[in-house]
Amino acid sequence: MQLTINGTAHEFTGDPRTSLLDFLRDGCGLTGTKKGCDHGQCGACTVLVNGQRVNSCLTLAIMQDGHAVTTIEGIGTPDALDPLQAAFVRHDGYQCGYCTPGQICSAKGMLAEAANGWASFVSDNLEGQVELSAEEIRERMSGNLCRCGAYSNIVDAITEAMQAEKVGAA
């Protein structure tokens, strides 16, 4: 069975028990995706599958047959950071950095969800256009924990990256 990771085809022939997370790290050497709790509670393992953010610890690699996975290694490069990555650096959106790949993949997914008009628990209106206030960002990023407590800087970084994107698109 085969899946695409950051645009490259990868064969998976391992033990069916292998989580997507373990396959990314151990099978593909893509160690940017982190294992925190391994139970879907911390979000450190967040990646994008077919453009949607998921916990890679709670799905089996073998179930992702034919799917396209994007990890932090597929977002920006050291020389050309993604706007989210640049904003995290500028705002100190981390201390130890362990949760950061998951935070950035999650934020990527969140921006796409908001662009598609997906409401959240804190949205007043289920049907209106989504404006990502700080409250909205906190709710939508609640699946990503940061034990260093860099949350306020993470919200600032995402807000800035989002506004930069809007200016760029205008």
């Binding site: 069916p16 028990r17 979000g43 949607q52 709670l58 799905t59 179930m63 409401a119 289920l126 939508r140």
Partner: protein
Amino acid sequence: MRPFQYMRPEGLDHAGQLLRDGARPIAGGTNLLDLMKLEVEAPDRLVDINRLPLGGIAPTDDGGVRIGALVTNSACAADLQIRRDYPVLARAILAGATFQLRNMATTGGNLCQRTRCYYFTNIDQPCNKRQPGSGCGAIGGHNRIHAILGASDACIATYPGDMAVALAALHADVEIERPDGTSRTVPVRTFHRLPGDTPDLDNVLEAGEVITAVILPPPAGGTQLYRKVRDRSSYAFALVSVAAVVRMDGDTIGSAALAFGGLAHKPWHDPRVEQLLAGQRPSDALFHQAADLLLEDAEGQGENDFKIPLTRRTLLASLREATGGAA
């Protein structure tokens, strides 16, 4: 995690055969894989049903909506018709888990999610649900999140979900395919069971049966809300939740469909409470009568005693909001 054989069924019939022989279905996997890592679940065969044609949200002939079993929670909450005509469902889904989990979790799987009882998820502890006959650690133990209604001497676990609570308020049905190719529908209100002396059975699904869809009746209108009380403001299970679909008829309550999360082994509903409210003018006195009736047989286990007054307050707040603010 214990070893298992991974299988993909050729079609629904084949899936039914495999499941009848004791294999476990996997869809989103967010609950099952978590429990397999803990060895709470140890299936020897896993049937990946994700490639079966059980997706899509479509209108039904009578003006309702059919939600395929494999529709993700995110897709369901984002669907324009669900948001417009069944807001209590969208609200309940958005109140549960996280975006990452809802992007994987499915409609059928959400119905089948298992309790978060601490004793169920710890294989070193006794649990009649996980291992029938081993006893219940929660009775006389830590039971802050446990049931106050419908519990038994064998089990005081709660059904943890939000989505099914809204579906119970909406009078939705579960569409189920039997292994012989026939299908049946079961009201969500009777899909989950009370524990009795067989708490290992969460719901009425029989061996080989597959949930194919959830069917919503035509839009109920009225005021719909989902009020969830939990230990933190996001990503936590309900201590108490109320799904309400209330239609006013002038100054009186035309009808009030109510369902409750966090109280019992199933999304709780009490037709007596709904009958009591119908045709009455909203008032706090009336709402207290409703709470009295709802909680008539409520029984705390010690740590969860607080749920009894909390349920009353949550019901009152929900009814005030849904009827336009009686005082």
